[in-house]
Amino acid sequence: MSTAVARQSSLPGVGLTMGLTLTWLSVIILIPLAGLFLKTLELSPGQFWEILTSRRTLNALKISFGLSFAAACVNLVMGTIIVWALVRYRFPGRRLFDAIVDIPFALPTAVAGVALTQLFAQKGWLGAPLAELGIKVAFTPIGIFIAMVFIGIPFVVRTVQPVLIDLDPEIEEAAASLGANRWHTVFRVILPSLIPALLTGFALAFARAVGEYGSVIFIAGNLPNVSEIAPLLIVIRLSEFRYADATAIAVIMLLASFLIILVVNRLQRWAQTRIPAH
């Protein structure tokens, strides 16, 4: 297929770049994934099923995917509001806040985990007042959720930001001149135009939260069945030399993530055909 493209194209280097792309993607992504699947083949289907349906595995998966979904939802809403403020308003410190959004990207996840744990521990700045209210954050699922929100927020902000910047202010003026109030303008004109970007941001934040390890394990408490995330369970199985168990859980996570990304992709495709980029 690459040769067919090369023959028709007047661009130089098609063969070379296509070859490099395919090789690189294979080495970096496809071969490790294939290895993962091969490793699980050491298990019989019965064993595989048993690992998958064990209470601890199911709970870990439930915690990982459930909390990631919740965190991505929160990030979607809050991220959209933050983007709106950063793009639409001029306020002192705007550039600073804009830079702050990137911190979860740049910060080593372990550092983030330690910081959050300190903050929300029973004697921490936020943990102490919350404890008085009877809310325990650190070493509970709430802590995991907060860590996932923390690491997910830049994904929504950075995906939606350029699209909102590009959105023509005349669109809003047109809506106003047609008698639309702010509510109508936001919910009928602006948000629908942002849907593809919002979906992408959501998917990225979700995927990141599912895969997150470093920042979560410090604050999670890691009680089996209560606050143990699936990536941690994989690490535990590895440290017990139960490699097949570990890869079985990994495969399930991979398939589930893949399915979710696929659904979001479909949704995006659907939205994009409705809102072609010019």
């Binding site: 047109a174 809506a175 106003a176 004109v189 809102i275």
Partner: protein
């Protein structure tokens, strides 16, 4: 509906976009705001629409103060240069938008909305595009849809900001005629902004010529072309020959040589003589108050356009004239020239 603009001042930082502008637009008029970019015409239109606010002055629509209301309460149709269609909505939904966002108390039922949209799409002759998205339309079609959308709310007045500015020349010409006939059909008071004099003269009942935030002249297309009030209007509308002259007590001199024309009440001092290309009468050498050598002639249609180097003075002045073809000019020929109609304005600098 009438529009009345009084003493409008608008500044953007140190730049004065509108400097004490007064304007009255009568019921059913189709008015053009004409001027170069930066003349304030779009700012004035946006202030009338409620998309911008003046620093001082008054805007009245049908006698009622408009500045107390935002754009969404003014009931003013606005058409943007780049259409500003909602790209996630079909053509049908775009046109229906203004009807769907009406307050519940006066909102029409779905059947009425559908009928109204259909009617508007028929009016702009694009009913067959109802289910397309804006990105699937040509520029001319998009602008017609934008117009239908603005008309859907039965606006009191219609404002168009460079409506044909983004279209190619041929489509622009078609749409101009179409807009004029549409206006005579629906008769809504309309103002459109343009920097294209041909467009303004061809479409509008009245033309407002603006420059540097001020109104230079208001008049019918014939008026502003034949009787320009200022040097700017003469230079901006139509092609003009401009010669630097000296007026002294009723006599006009070009480079020291007296011209055989009346100063027509022009004040003494350095001035500019404006003559339309086709208002320069040609004759044999020795006749007329100017003389020059024909350097180059191009003939097309009913006219010949000649480049003439004026003799006398610095001898370097070259003008272009349009002459009828009843007397063919030859390159190298010396001819006499006499301005048939002309205007003299004081030189501003």
């Amino acid at each position: 509906m009438t529009i009345e603009v009084k003493n409008i001042v608008k500044k953007f930082g140190a730049f004065t976009a509108l400097d004490n502008v007064d304007l009255k637009v009568g019921k059913g008029e189709l008015l053009a705001l004409l001027g170069p970019s930066g003349s304030g015409k779009t700012t004035l239109l946006r202030i009338i629409a409620g998309l911008d606010w003046p620093d001082a002055g008054e805007v009245r629509i049908d006698g009622e103060d408009a500045l107390g209301h935002g754009a969404s309460e003014r009931h003013v149709g606005f058409v943007f240069q780049h259409y500003a269609l909602f790209r996630h909505m079909t053509v049908f939904e775009n046109v229906a938008f203004g009807l769907r966002v009406q307050p519940r108390a006066i909102r029409k039922d779905e059947a009425t909305i559908r009928a109204r949209v259909k009617e508007l799409l028929d009016l702009v002759q694009l009913d067959w595009l109802a289910n397309r998205y804006p990105s699937q339309l040509s520029g001319g079609q998009r602008q017609r849809i934008a117009l239908a959308r603005a008309l859907a709310i039965e606006p009191r007045i219609l404002l168009l900001d460079e409506p044909f500015g983004a279209l190619d020349a041929k489509v622009r010409k078609e749409l101009r005629q179409w807009l004029r006939s549409l206006h005579s059909e629906i008769h809504v008071t309309s103002i459109f902004v343009t920097h294209d004099q041909e467009e303004a003269l061809e479409v509008a009942n009245r033309v407002v010529v603006m420059d540097k935030g001020r109104i230079e002249q208001i008049g019918t297309p014939g008026d502003v072309y034949d009787n320009p009030a200022t040097a700017f209007v003469h230079g901006f509308i139509g092609e003009s020959i401009v010669l630097p002259v000296e007026v002294t007590g009723g006599s006009v001199r070009l480079g020291g040589r007296p011209l055989n024309i009346a100063a027509g009440g022009a004040a003494s001092g350095a001035s500019k003589l404006f003559v339309r290309r086709h208002d320069m009468q040609i004759g044999p050498a020795g006749t007329g108050s100017l003389e020059g050598a024909v350097r180059h002639v191009r003939s097309f249609g009913p006219i010949q356009r000649a480049e003439i180097a004026l003799s006398g003075g610095e001898g370097k002045t070259v003008i272009e004239i349009d002459a009828p073809r009843d007397r063919e000019l030859q390159a190298g020929e010396i001819i006499g020239l006499q301005p048939r109609r002309y205007r003299i304005f004081a030189a501003q600098d």
